[in-house]
Amino acid sequence: MLKIHNLDVSYGPIRALKGISFEVKEGEIVTLIGANGAGKSTTLRTISNLIKPQNGSITFLNKDLLPVPAYDLVKLGIAHVPEGRIIFGPLTVHENLELATWGRKDKIAIREDLNKVYDLFPLLKERKFQLGETLSGGEQQMLALGRGLVARAKLMLLDEPSMGLAPLLVQDIYRVIRQVNAEGTTILLVEQNAHMALEVAHRAYVLETGNIILEGPADEVAKNPKVIKAYLG
């Protein structure tokens, strides 16, 4: 579904990605794990066309993504839930969700999608008219995920959905991720929380300072001594 080949990304003199290649197949949960600064967010931001790569190719459903403007990716079926959530603070919860349906004309389906998010996260429903900036970190993550869901994507890019959340909430978020995947959405999951990520993912890639150093089925990667030492220890 998503194919990355030889991707090279630099920020000025800093080479953040040094020619990585990987693939996400339809229906999978694929996780990309790595330490701080490994280049995980850079990978997702490049797929979303927020950063231009120096080299390499990105194709989605056999379509070259590089010439597609960032704002058209949602239409193609790619939703990006960014690191740090980036909730629109001065807008209400409901307005945040509505904006994620930008460009869609099917009013009835939109309302169904919004209600589905509220069913999934009743806390958000209670806070429908509260400003985004007043939400707690956990609620913001739910809202960020909700915005991704109403985009009706075929592929969701999730950047550290468990960051800064209490264990119970992490369980909640991952329950939703599993459910969304079971309903047919493919997921590319970036995490530092390797435990959770390797538990839900089908396949995993390990990224270290811009290189993929390990890949394979998630349960095998979880057994790799290097991974155990660096990420699971």
């Binding site: 979303s48 927020l50 403007p69 960032a70 704002y71 058209d72 990716l73 949602v74 239409k75 939703a79 990006h80 839930v81 960014p82 980036i86 629109f88 603070g89 001065p90 807008l91 307005e95 509505e98 904006l99 994620a100 930008w102 460009g103 915005r147 985009a151």
Partner: protein
Amino acid sequence: MTKKQISSSVNKKMLAYDKLPNWKKYAFISAITLFFLALYISFFGIQAFFQQLVNGIQLGSIYALIALGYTMIYGIIRLINFAHGDLFMFGAYISCFLGNYLMAHNFRYPFIVVLIFSMVVTALLGMAIEKIAYKPLRFKPRLAALITALGVSLFLENFFALSPQNVPFPLNKIVFGPKYILFPALIAEKTYNIGGIAINNIKILIVIITIILMIALQYIVKKTMIGKAMRAVAFNKDACLMMGINIDKVISITFGIGISLAAASGTLYALTYGQLQSPYLGIWPGLKAFIAAVLGGIGNIPGAMLGSYVMGVSETFATSINSNFGYGIAFVILIVVLVFKPAGLLGKFTKEKV
């Protein structure tokens, strides 16, 4: 007192003011205002007072429509669009030409047609300017766009002030010329005398149209998708892109709306004075409206309205005392407010985001 002591005492006063609850701030501001009003009334009488108040509200409305555009554009791309006053001028000239044509052909409702046409045409010019001059600089240092805005402003003034006989075809059909021209009387002026205060139908119309446009703007920004997107783009452009929002389109529409308000203001201004002095006529209203926007807290829509009415009313009162005061008062108020409230009357002080 040393310099340091003075500045620290100013700081303390500022902090003391900031800590006050909102109602106390309003009470404080109202008290100062009332003091000056009482002073004015005791010297010039209540009738002169109300007359000046009416005139001030009219002027404030003209400023408000310009200031709203300044503040909207600043809010979304952090650019002070110095060309705003010149688009106000352009709107006034377009209204003048179409108005003359419609009057010559005995058109039924020339005013409303002229107003809408001028708003649309000027908005298109503004959107074109945004595409050509500002968009390529969006991710460059902010100073580049600011200097460009100054350049666009100077260009518009000086280009349209060229004499038609001095420029080749087809430019001679476009330029306005440097001389003053009469603005058509699109509405027959009727003056009413209410308790010794002269109010004419044009003043009433200006205030009504301003209120309608403000309500429309408030509706667009609060309730429509494009309005929500405007606020979202102002907050974080990357997040908008990730959600599929075409930020170029949103920014372009914001320019269009903001500049159409400036054109409306230009039309109302011309209608009031009955003439267009020259293509440089937008400089002062543009500058004063900019001050009004800063006074209210730039980027803040209610702030722009409040700042404009404060400016319009105080300028009118000051002018009635001495015509030289009128020009100075804007700056005096600005300096006094910014010393105590650097973010403007309604603005929130935030650190620059990188």
